[in-house]
Symmetry: C2
Subunit: 450 residues, 2 copies
């Protein structure tokens, strides 16, 4: 596989015992794994054995839904990924953090620190955090509006970028004889003053190995896509059909070009929840066994909350009610709302069936079959303008990741679609992305980053 060929990118989206909400109930699962760093170190090593580009953790500063339902209560991702950095050598480490409930100075510094500690393997999944429950953990009664959250996110990214550029790459002279540690002209205040933030700077850590962490985005609303087009270098998205995925892919690449960026500089990775076995029938049986462990009373309440209706409006054996709120009135996770409603309507699912589909992958595409079939499904989307790679979301962990790495990855490698070994050392190198120029000193090298 030469460097000039287009390469598949694979991210392992990790979650305690797996993405299937009932995965923790399997005999094999460790239900205390959500706070067990050894569990995650084992998963990261498996993903690294499979030469995945990265591992990734979702996050919110709140517990959503019923605490009894499944393992909730998670380690903070920048802490967890730092622990994984020590247990791995090459794989990228992507942490989710909210622009609504953090300060740019502290968060920019934390990601720069993870980038140093990991030798250039840090990524930041930028989220705006939907929902009033999160707001109430930060003294805010009503969540900020969707538009306001995305406006703040854009300014947050501007401030973070300025802070990451506040030290030139070669600022540290370390001139022992003269007693000058840093050239003070190459470390500057950023003097940012905007609508949401006023930050003087400079950052209190030098420019990190990657310059910036890899910027990842995962919301697929209009605001989310616009933010991604301006800033994101990788996008995680939930797409159920090839046609929807192609439409999203073409739309986002076009928006990225319209924002003045090279569309190759944004990698689009739809989520897929694979349940793999040596025969299709066995895979379907595994999937059914998991779905049979779902307790619908938990899921019914959560679905009602997402759809902004009462649980009693969602009888288990009927389809969704016709009179659901319009997406435009949703201030929460807009794209997830739309995806769920469209899935239920398109496939005429009962609430019980919809809960089964969501329980398996929370709106992401589920796939059950053989390793060859999984590779076919991946190849089809990759070669038909629907994906630059995939966000692999094993239903059960660690077994689902092990099966994917040991059985699907070899097929992808044989077909020349996926790397057989790491060729780079940083997360940006794995994704084939440039190290960003410094906006202040980049001009000296003949080019300025906008």
């Amino acid at each position: 596989m030469s460097n000039s060929e287009r390469t598949l990118h694979l991210n392992a989206f990790l979650m305690s015992t797996g993405h299937h909400e009932a995965s923790w109930r399997l005999p094999e699962s460790n239900p205390h794994s959500s706070t067990d760093v050894r569990h995650y170190q084992n998963l990261a090593r498996i993903a690294e054995r499979g030469t995945f580009d990265s591992v990734f953790f979702a996050d919110s500063p709140v517990i959503y839904g019923n605490v009894g339902r499944r393992p909730v209560g998670k380690l903070e991702p920048t802490v967890l990924l730092t622990a994984l950095a020590a247990a791995t050598e090459k794989i990228g480490l992507i942490a989710t953090a909210s622009t609504t409930y953090n300060d740019p100075f502290n968060l920019a510094r934390r990601f720069a620190s993870v980038d140093f500690v990991s030798g250039g393997r840090a990524g930041w999944n930028v989220v705006t955090t939907a929902g009033p429950d999160a707001a109430r953990n930060f003294g805010i009664e009503d969540q900020p509006s969707h538009a306001s959250r995305y406006e703040r996110a854009a300014e947050f990214l501007d401030v973070a970028g300025k802070l990451w550029d506040s030290w030139d790459d070669d600022a540290v002279l370390a001139d022992k004889a003269a007693g000058v540690w840093v050239d003070s002209d190459r470390v500057r205040a950023i003097e940012h003053e905007g609508k949401h933030f006023k930050v003087k700077g400079p950052l209190n850590v030098p420019r990190s190995p990657q310059g910036y962490p890899l910027i990842v985005q995962a919301g697929s609303s209009e605001d989310g896509k616009d933010l991604a087009a301006r800033y994101a270098e990788a996008v995680f998205t939930a797409q159920q059909t090839l046609e929807d995925a192609q439409r999203f892919y073409a739309d986002l690449k076009a928006r990225t070009a319209a924002a003045g960026r090279d569309p190759k500089g944004i990698k689009i990775l739809p989520g897929i929840v694979p349940v793999i076995a040596s025969t299709e029938a066995e895979a379907k049986r595994l999937e059914q066994d998991l779905d049979d462990l779902i307790k619908p009373e938990y899921a019914q309440i959560e679905l009602a909350r997402t759809l902004r209706v009462r649980p009693e409006d969602l009888p288990l054996d009927r389809q969704l009610p016709a009179d659901l709120p319009d997406e435009d009135t949703i201030e929460g996770a807009k794209s997830r709302y739309t995806l769920i409603v469209e899935l239920a309507r398109r496939e005429q699912l009962t609430v019980r069936q919809l809960i089964g589909r969501l329980g398996g992958g929370r709106g992401h595409r589920t796939f059950s079959g053989t390793p060859e079939q999984a590779a076919d499904a991946i190849q089809l989307w990759f070669e038909n303008g629907a994906a630059d790679g995939f966000n692999i979301m094993p239903a059960v962990l660690p077994s689902g990741l092990e099966t994917f790495v040991d059985q699907v990855v070899p097929v992808l490698r044989r077909r020349g679609l996926f790397r057989t070994g790491y060729t780079g050392n940083t997360l940006r190198e794995h994704y084939g992305l440039e190290r960003p120029l410094n906006r202040y000193s980049g001009a000296l090298a003949g080019s300025v980053r906008a």
Copy 2:
């Protein structure tokens, strides 16, 4: 050494190339160590070999003073300590974090996460962060007043404690058969509403191995001592003389008792900057070599800022001016201000001499001599009501820490003052402190923590 005997506690206060401001200029020093995780992993392993209770990093969300002077730009401590957790097994890990420039929800969660990842070795040095420069990195033009910062710190600690108690220790049932992961009655909202914070909770991570991280405090102003008396379990302090240290020790133990706590539950550790060699003359020579590398023009400007005067008011070869501002007007680091002025007046130091003393240890007690002399100095304070242990601040790293561990620790062990091996696994166990009861469910066990 039996468990009932009083035991010396040693913390290694680590800082890039060492506490002496010119340490980075020595031929042996790596001037890029401030962002090199391997440097710190090496230091933590040396301290663990010396059975230190803990390692510790100071921190501020800002660069103070001239960036050219010495290695500035530091890794964020919770990230750095997580990386050290992976490289060590027993030693405690204390990170500094500001209550003025953090949110309780995020910070409480991060410390709980470090506590999980380290197996119960996390500590939090609670600081309120002086100075307008830090404020300006968070959109605030003038720093909050000293009193307001300490008021917020106390409420911050209350909120954090409630969040750490929001899950009962036995909340996770993991009942696979019934499909109930957690007993939802044992995870509760905290519904905190105070002057500075409104936080609903619960925390989104279970109660951590230590319940709470070890709470450490380092300010020695009146407000700082009152905060320590109410909350702190270990106190780092700068004391220059036995008499001052005894006065501070007695005062803080009395305040702790007055706050309704057992005075044994607060360990007082004065800082000491040891420069150790096989003869006293050689140690003095080492110290002088370091002092000769100080560039007074950097230090003069910083001293002027601390004393709230102009640099030209501080001629290098004269004593401090008589008309300095009164401590009561200082809104910054009050206790440091007083310590510097008293040191200069007591010893009638010129500005140049004062700079030498401060350059060596930033107001902490410097000590140069043989290993036996160092052990004598430590024993004298430990046995005469001045200290429960020491905050060891090597002038040069790693060599100063190695010398202390290899030459002073064996003397302390021979004298029966210090442990020969770890007897516990958690930071609280090293300091001989209880795991806090849960304020909500502790009542069930017959006792409630206030």
